[in-house]
């Protein structure tokens, strides 16, 4: 019996194993770090992420490799997404560090460990080739994030947000699991590639499968935060401590994109006409409600939350345009445009929340729109950075957000959904209003608060680089687009 046992190849999972080992080490080391600033914990966490990125890069073969009895897959898309993920988390932690160190009631060391564990969960999600691996990664990420939202124990707002997030998240996980069990019932396997094979052979109960698909899409929609599964987003973004909001608003989006690809494209590609219909509804609703509700917000975290909803809707447009009338030749282009959109959004959103953190200081959150009034007088440089971010989010040429929207719209038009493209442009125009309002506040209003910006040098430098990246990627988007396209071509 035991002679049949195959010892798995650990190399494809090396980045995950490394991050897990280091998370354990850091958890223990942090117990003996007494300083308020937690410099050692911070440094170790950053080194871990850098090491993880290095291992991901070095072990990347460009081939599709399966391991752990085909439960885990390592391909170019996974490697690329993991590299983006590591980079995002590194930047997030640099921004978050000052805020965490200043707040007394915040559990400090745990923040870093939870970030690492959430990152691990996301990496497992990105590399999942089995519905249970996917679920494992998802839960690992979600549970860490629930705890992170509640890290500021004395804040009722944060606790409430964590509670809401946890209850709704548990519900969504339940929906997802239900969908998974349906897929298992219909195809007799949980392995994503085998699900695809079973579908290709055609001997499956379509009714059960479509029924399960509804639940899967609902679970995905919750994790992406698209309408009508978006209710948690504003509350959680608003209630969570800003560094945690920054984290939730960036890295998990990449993992959620991977989840969409793994489940819907790798697994259920044959049902594309079915899920495209569902995603289309979700996308249009998200763009409408996200953009309209954002106008009414006075809190910038909440505004960015609704903006995130609309962006996720826009990203889904790319997923909708893959297969037209049974013709899958548009698929790669459409999906790579979605991936590009996602990466561009993450870069921009990190900079946006980074700005909020930059203005925050001990005892002051800077999360109201009014706090951005007259930023130009306090710091012309960072006002211009914020402007770049806002213009990019609005999709104004020539920033990276414009090209992201452009690529997706191209895919939509190529798929023949003219009305969808027009709707998307219209909603983007509505969205431009509230982004430009921030610019107006910064440049044309008098500051309410003249305190000089107190962030550390590293944060300022990194935030500048981040803002410049948004601008420069707008000038040279081809490389990133090309990377996304290649990753998807080599992985699907």
């Amino acid at each position: 019996m035991l002679t049949n046992f195959v010892i798995p190849d650990l190399l494809p999972a090396a980045p995950e194993l490394f991050i897990l080992a280091m998370a354990c080490v850091i958890l223990i080391v942090d117990l003996f770090v007494k300083s308020k600033a937690r410099t050692l914990t911070f440094a170790l966490t950053q080194l871990t992420l850098v090491g993880c990125a290095a291992i991901t890069y070095m072990t990347s073969t460009g081939e599709i490799t399966y391991t752990f009895s085909n439960m885990f897959v390592d391909d170019l898309m996974a490697d690329l997404l993991k590299l983006f993920l590591d980079l995002t988390v590194i930047v997030v932690l640099f921004y978050a560090r000052g805020y965490i160190a200043e707040r007394v009631s915040m559990a400090k060391g745990e923040f870093y460990v939870l970030v690492l564990l959430a990152t691990l969960g996301m990496m497992v999600m990105i590399s999942a080739n089995h519905l249970l691996t996917l679920y494992l990664g998802l839960e690992m990420m979600s549970l860490s994030v629930y705890a992170m939202v509640a890290l500021n124990r004395d804040s009722t707002q944060a606790t409430e947000a964590a509670m809401k997030y946890f209850v709704l998240g548990a519900l969504a996980s339940g929906l997802l699991l239900y969908g998974i069990s349906m897929v298992y019932g219909a195809t007799g396997t949980l392995e994503i590639t085998q699900v695809a094979q079973a579908l290709a052979q055609g001997a499956v109960n379509k009714t059960i499968l479509v029924f399960g698909l509804v639940f899967l899409v609902a679970g995905i929609a919750f994790k992406l935060g698209v309408v009508p599964f978006h209710m948690w987003i504003p509350d959680v973004y608003h209630g969570a401590p800003t560094p945690v909001t920054l984290f939730i608003a960036s890295a998990p989006k990449l993992a959620a994109f991977a989840m969409v690809i793994r489940l819907l494209v790798n697994g259920l590609f044959f049902l594309a006409p079915d899920w495209q219909q569902m995603l289309m509804i979700l996308a249009v609703l998200s763009m409408a409600i996200g953009n309209l509700a954002a106008i009414a917000q006075t809190n910038i975290k909440r505004m960015l939350a609704y903006s995130a909803i609309s962006h996720m809707g826009f990203m889904l447009l790319g997923m909708v345009s893959g297969v037209v009338g049974g013709d899958a030749r548009f698929a790669l282009n459409a999906y790579s445009s979605s991936m590009f959109y996602m990466v561009a959004y993450v870069i921009t959103s990190v900079a946006g929340f980074g700005m909020i953190l930059l203005l925050a200081r001990a005892g002051f959150e800077a999360d109201s729109l009014d706090d951005f009034k007259g930023l130009n007088k306090r710091s012309p440089w960072f006002a211009s950075m914020m402007m770049v971010v806002m213009l990019s989010m609005a999709g104004i040429p020539f920033f990276v957000g414009f090209f992201a929207k452009f690529a997706v719209l191209q895919a939509v038009v190529a798929a023949g959904y003219m009305w969808l493209a027009i709707a998307a442009v219209l909603f983007s125009l509505i969205g431009a209003f509230y982004y430009l309002r921030v610019v107006k506040l910064m440049y044309f209003d008098a500051p309410l608060d003249e305190t000089p910006i107190a962030a550390g040098f590293d944060t300022k430098l990194l935030l500048s680089a981040n803002g410049l990246a948004v601008a420069l990627l707008g000038l040279f988007p081809q490389t990133l687009m090309y990377l996304c396209a290649v990753a998807l071509v080599r992985s699907l």
Binding site: M1, L2, T3, F5, I7, C24, L27, I28, L31, F32
Partner: protein, 124 residues
């Protein structure tokens, strides 16, 4: 295979019967003359104040959560321990089989140390 479990089912039923019959018997044989004083909750002779189902220390929850973690861990150890001799005697998987469980335990120990240092195991 399953018929081996039939005596167990019977035994459980007998156990339940032994749990129920004496109470029924006591109910029938023993006197039953309740009065308000006799039925009041025992509180050293005082009138009972407050509800007895009161708030209790959060540490009981903590113990319960830690227990679930450790008990699950043991549940995972059971099948491994049962075939450990075979693992030792199969050269191909010997070290892998051992190392894997040690890693599993090591992760548990990390959590255990964390709980210890954070004071979750204190009971003042």
């Amino acid at each position: 295979m399953l018929e081996n479990y039939f005596p167990i089912l019977l035994f459980i039923l007998v156990g339940i019967a032994i749990g129920v019959l004496p109470i029924v018997l006591g109910w029938l044989i023993a006197p039953n003359r309740p009065d308000a004083e006799k039925l009041s909750p025992y509180e050293c002779g005082f009138e009972a104040f407050e509800d007895a189902r009161m708030k209790f220390d959060v540490r009981y929850y903590l113990i319960a959560i830690l227990f679930i973690l450790f008990d699950l861990e043991i549940a995972f150890l059971f099948p491994w321990a049962t075939i450990f001799k075979e693992i030792v005697n199969t050269e191909a998987v010997k070290w892998f089989g051992f190392a894997e469980m040690m890693v599993f335990i090591a992760i548990l120990v990390v959590g255990y140390i964390y709980a210890w240092v954070k004071g979750a195991l204190e009971w003042e």
